[in-house]
């Protein structure tokens, strides 16, 4: 299995300030089951006992094939790669909502809820209720949330919509609220999944400012993105996920160039 695992070449541009690794991923493998004939129904499952053609066929699909990654405290790392390369899966694994099939993840510090589109909101609940729910799942008491509540709402620029069910929000508003919650929870590690793809330019700028502030506090960030400019501004390092492994790791410009070459080649 290690034959398929291409260990990434670590670039020398890593900060040499002796910061310890807060995220350490060793030989991480993750598979998904692709199910054919799967509709979770008893009848079909029963028929499958007698007739092979009704039997569920499972096909393994390895999304991540032996990933190694080390992120030090205070680093901001961009994960790039084509759709379906496993970028979001990696975030889920780091957030510990998905379980690795092989390998090990060691995380020091608290991971904020993933900020991403369509994640973590109950659509029938209002924005306000969602803020409290998200924060309490993270371990905050209602009293603590009340202290940062206004800050979150102001940052997200939701205005009066905050008392309306999230189902009435625009995509941009949902993304803004998600980002606002994640950054205000005072976690050590921030996971961002394509947050720049929906916000308008002005909000993006605001996000970037906030994230720079975040970095100054020595916090760590991992962002999945296609937004070149944001990556350039924020990250000192990028990793290219390709075919289940990291094939390039280094300064953002260099990795994006590698990425372009690979896409061009195909």
């Amino acid at each position: 299995m290690s034959a398929g695992a291409m260990n990434l070449q670590r670039n020398s541009s890593e900060p040499a300030n002796g910061n310890h690794a807060v995220i350490q991923v060793e030989n991480l493998w993750k598979k998904f089951m692709v199910r054919h004939n799967s509709n979770y129904s008893l009848k079909i499952k029963f028929l499958g006992l007698f007739q092979p053609r009704y039997r569920e066929r499972r096909e393994e699909f390895w999304v991540l094939k032996g990933i190694d990654l080390q992120i030090r405290a205070g680093e901001a790392v961009a994960v790039v790669g084509p759709n379906g390369a496993g970028k979001s899966t990696l975030l889920y694994l780091l957030a510990r909502t998905l379980r690795p099939d092989r390998g090990q993840i060691t995380i020091t510090g608290r991971v904020a809820p993933i900020a991403g589109i369509g994640l973590g909101f109950h659509h029938e609940l209002t924005g306000k209720e969602n803020i409290f729910l998200n924060a309490s799942l993270f371990g905050w008491s209602r009293r603590d949330v009340r202290c940062i509540y206004d800050e979150i709402v102001n940052f997200a620029e939701i205005g009066n919509f905050i008392d309306m069910p999230v189902k009435n929000y625009s995509t941009g508003m949902v993304a803004r609220l998600g980002f606002a919650i994640s950054v205000h929870l005072d976690a050590d590690i921030l996971l961002l999944d394509e947050v720049f793809s929906v916000g308008d330019a002005q909000f993006q700028e605001k996000c970037i400012k906030k994230m720079m502030e975040f970095r100054k506090k020595g916090k760590t960030m991992l962002l999945v993105s296609h937004a070149r400019q944001a990556m350039d501004l924020l990250c000192d390092r990028a990793c290219l996920l390709w075919g289940g492994t990291f094939v390039s790791d280094g300064p953002v410009q260099k990795v994006l160039q590698d990425y372009a070459e690979r896409t061009g080649r195909l």
């Binding site: 493998w29 998904f32 979770y40 129904s41 008893l42 889920y92 694994l93 957030a95 510990r96 909502t97 998905l98 379980r99 690795p100 099939d101 092989r102 390998g103 090990q104 993840i105 060691t106 995380i107 020091t108 510090g109 608290r110 991971v111 809820p113 993933i114 991403g116 369509g118 994640l119 973590g120 909101f121 109950h122 029938e124 609940l125 209720e129 409290f132 729910l133 998200n134 309490s136 799942l137 993270f138 371990g139 905050w140 008491s141 209602r142 009293r143 603590d144 949330v145 069910p165 050590d188």
Partner: protein, 280 residues
């Protein structure tokens, strides 16, 4: 534990220690259980009654309509020889409602929270548990309504009422186990959502709620005794309606069912929960 604790997650690690331990590694970080449960229970309340004018009253009107219909049918048409039939019925119905609503709502406890489950790691058992707490609160209010009617109709308090919270606690543990079991199983077997509805309907009529246990045909008693809800209804009715000691047999079986249900439900939940985020 300090919040900066290092956590290691790996496939082997999980097999040895069980993912639940790891996943509830975040348990250490959740000191604010009160807030969490409150938010989740509040969420239930909002989801159930948002936008309805009568709001919470619906949870009383539903069993009430049942009581009215059954009283008319069984007391005045079928002429079941039971004194104060409405009270007799309510003592059983409100506790049945607690069970049946919690069970049927628990089918969605995990699958309807997929976005939360994928976004942040937390002890997911809190989801069905908070649902049961919500149903318990509803039962509490229904019970208060029952007591008011009971006293108005000339009923009097007796020491058996002191045992009511004990009985409630036992049933709570029982319902908690069943809810954990069903909420986790539904993730992998969606048919349960429909199956549960049918099972509940059958079970309602096989539980001595609209009729007294004494009126079932001789020889069928063991069949009723294997139904956990029988023991709860018998105990509640003895305490709240007959003003009599229910008998040790029913207490033992009530506790037995609660322990078994809780043990099976929670262990199955713990076993299945690592795969929730993938499957929901």
């Amino acid at each position: 534990m300090k919040p900066t604790a290092t956590q290691t997650v790996s496939a082997d690690h999980l097999e040895v220690e069980g993912w639940s331990l790891d996943s509830s590694g975040s348990l250490r970080h959740i000191p604010a259980y009160g807030s969490l449960i409150r938010n989740l229970v509040g969420k239930q309340l909002q989801l159930k009654y948002r936008g309805s004018a009568l709001g919470f009253l619906w949870s009383l009107l539903n069993p009430l309509s049942m009581v009215v219909v059954y009283t008319v049918v069984f007391r005045y048409i079928m002429r079941v020889p039971v004194e104060n039939y409405a009270l007799f019925l309510v003592a059983g119905v409100i506790h049945w409602e607690f069970f049946s609503t919690a069970v049927s709502d628990s089918t969605g406890a995990i699958i309807e929270n997929r976005e939360l489950i994928r976004k942040i790691s937390f002890p997911t058992i809190i989801l069905p548990a908070s649902q049961v707490v919500f149903e318990l609160i509803q039962l509490g209010l229904a019970f208060l309504a029952f007591m008011v009617i009971y006293l108005v109709l000339g009923g009097s308090l007796w020491w058996g009422h002191l045992l009511y919270p004990v009985a409630l606690l036992i049933q709570f543990v029982f319902v908690l186990g069943i809810s954990a079991l069903i909420s986790a199983s539904t993730v992998f077997l969606r048919d349960l959502q429909h199956l549960v509805q049918i099972a509940l309907r059958l079970m309602f009529w096989l539980t001595p709620i609209v009729y007294p246990l004494t009126s079932v045909p001789a020889g069928t008693a063991p069949f009723f005794q294997i139904n956990p809800m029988t023991s709860y209804v018998v105990i509640y009715r003895a305490l709240l309606y007959d003003k009599a000691w229910p008998g040790m047999f029913w207490w033992v079986s009530a506790i037995g069912f609660a322990v078994v249900s809780f043990a099976i439900g929670v262990s199955l939940f713990t076993f299945l929960s690592p795969r929730f985020a993938e499957e929901v």
